[in-house]
């Protein structure tokens, strides 16, 4: 089977959920990946949506975080204040899975405004949503976005959500309880924070991608980890499950 670069991204994002028990799911790419994980690597994964659903088991990929099926198939439905206070803030959720518009070398995220240059008004993005507290309070965080110099930038125009702040020790100084971002999965490969410097480093590329391509598509001088690996090609089962999801088809 052949595949697209977006499929490589989503399949690898789903694989990153292996071993997770509970996941706070952002809309868009994270939702596709988390639902794929439920159909492949992690069938018992508890999906938690900010609309107040705990344990959603949608048969089709939802368009929004509040599609009726998310509530109809959930173990429990709670109010929005409760999902954020009793479940997220209380530290009950293993993994936060987020998309992003801009990410910097310390995996900080901007989803608020972009600078469009002198004489032009700021470009408006949707805003924070649940992200600042999801990234603060989940046990760890996964980010998924397409790899480009526009998305992976030297300097954020606005810090909406803190990843590793300005480097090692930053999260502890800010009092952020979770471990923060552990991987950024893109359509070219995977970046992980260096254990010493907390700076995102290219640790994997997808089949058919060179590290040079990933470096060229990154807005800071991206370090390549020694022992760079190539991700396993998507299996037929993964691609079939993903395509059924994308078509809105129920689980096979």
């Amino acid at each position: 089977m052949s595949w697209t670069s977006d499929e490589l991204m989503t399949v690898n994002a789903a694989r990153a959920l292996a071993g997770a028990r509970t996941c706070f799911v952002g809309i868009g790419l994270p939702s596709a990946a988390a639902n794929l994980a439920r159909r492949t690597t992690e069938p018992g994964l508890v999906l938690i949506y900010e609309s107040g659903t705990l344990g959603s088991k949608p048969s089709r990929l939802p368009l929004s975080i509040g599609d009726g099926e998310l509530a109809d198939t959930a173990d429990a439905v709670v109010s929005v204040p409760e999902i954020f206070n009793y479940w997220l803030q209380a530290g009950r959720i293993d993994v936060g899975f987020l998309g992003a518009a801009q990410v910097d070398r310390f995996a900080n995220v901007n989803t608020t405004v972009v600078d469009r240059g002198p004489g032009r008004p700021e470009g408006r993005l949707p805003g924070a949503g649940g992200a600042p507290e999801i990234a603060a309070s989940c046990g760890k965080v996964l980010l998924v976005l397409r790899h480009s110099t526009r998305n992976l930038v030297e300097r954020l125009d606005f810090v909406t959500t803190v990843g590793h702040g300005d480097g090692p020790g930053s999260r502890a100084r800010l009092g952020l309880p979770g471990a923060g971002p552990v991987a950024v999965i893109t359509d070219l490969g995977i970046m992980r924070p260096d254990p010493e410097t907390a700076e995102l480093t290219l640790t994997e590329v997808h089949p058919g991608t060179t590290p040079e391509q990933a470096v060229a598509a990154t807005g800071w001088p991206l370090a390549v980890a020694p022992g760079l690996r190539v991700t396993e090609p998507p299996t037929e089962a993964e691609l079939t499950a993903l395509r059924r999801l994308a078509q809105g088809a129920p689980d096979a």
Binding site: E50, L63, S64, G66, V77, S79, V80, Q89, G175, L176
Partner: protein
């Protein structure tokens, strides 16, 4: 006690130009019909409060009804931008829009404080974010017991909260279920409450996980079947995802938007 009124009379009596208005419903039970009636009655200069402005506020903003927006996530869920919101913020069309911007956790807690009639709420939030630099309603407070510094967010107490619910009884007791969002808090935080419902029934049979707002917490109930469309009411309607996808093209262009509003909202009452 809640009065059972027509939507027209309920909006005319409870929603006034210059008000701070919260129209809640987290993807589910969004009170679109009430917003359309507000547009027809030319209510203006509103401070609109909503966690997710969604298409409902894209329409109110595009029609020039709002001077300020208090929110936490302004996109078309799963589709992309809210183009009327963006046009107002970036270009001031049809009028400039002041923003007070939060995270979801912050907004949810602002409503909790409002419903509790406390001046502010406390959460572990916004740490390291630039959001507090642009908002006068985010600050910090030190815990008197542990010394921990926590985020403090100002209460929201709307002049009027408008919600949609599945049903009410003849006394005006209101029942809603499914994704109940932040509606209970938004209603109890407000000075006045308007609820549109799918139907009025003789008896409110208990429903699993339902929220009940007693009649004496509500000012007016108006029956508007399908009044949440293109959002939905669990048990009655399903979310019209096709509408949300089609809204992208309608709302991208100022003239196409105004034509759509004229044909589907303003004409609808003539």
């Amino acid at each position: 006690m809640a009065e059972i009124l027509t939507l027209r009379d309920a909006v005319a009596g409870l929603v006034h130009s210059g008000d701070t208005v919260a129209m809640e419903g987290f993807t589910h039970l969004i009170p679109f019909a009430a917003a359309h009636e507000m547009i027809r009655q030319r209510v203006s200069d509103l401070t609109l409060v909503r966690m997710t402005p969604d298409v409902i506020y894209d329409q109110l903003i595009g029609m020039g009804a709002a001077r300020k927006l208090v929110f936490s996530w302004g996109g078309n869920p799963g589709v992309g931008s809210l183009h009327r919101f963006r046009d107002a913020v970036e270009n001031g069309w049809p009028r400039p829009l002041e923003l007070d911007e939060h995270s979801h956790a912050g907004m949810a807690n602002r409503y909790v404080a409002g419903a509790s009639r406390l001046p502010f709420a406390v959460l572990r939030g916004y740490r390291g974010s630039d959001l507090p630099s642009r908002s006068a309603t985010i600050s910090t407070v030190v815990c008197p017991f542990t010394g921990e510094e926590l985020a403090a967010v100002a209460a929201i107490n709307p002049d009027v909260t408008v919600i949609h619910a599945q049903r009410a009884d003849r006394d005006g007791n209101v029942q809603l279920w499914g994704l109940v969002g932040v509606q209970k808090e938004a209603a109890l935080a407000a000075s006045r409450v308007l609820v549109t419902v799918e139907e009025i029934v003789d008896d409110l049979a208990p429903a699993p996980g339902a929220v009940v707002l007693p009649s004496w917490t509500v000012d007016a109930v108006a029956v508007v079947p399908n009044g949440a469309h293109p959002s939905y009411a669990a048990g009655y309607t399903v979310r019209d995802n096709g509408f949300y996808q089609a809204w992208d093209a309608v709302s991208r262009d100022r003239d196409a938007f105004l034509r759509w509003m004229d044909e589907n909202v303003l004409e609808a009452a003539r």
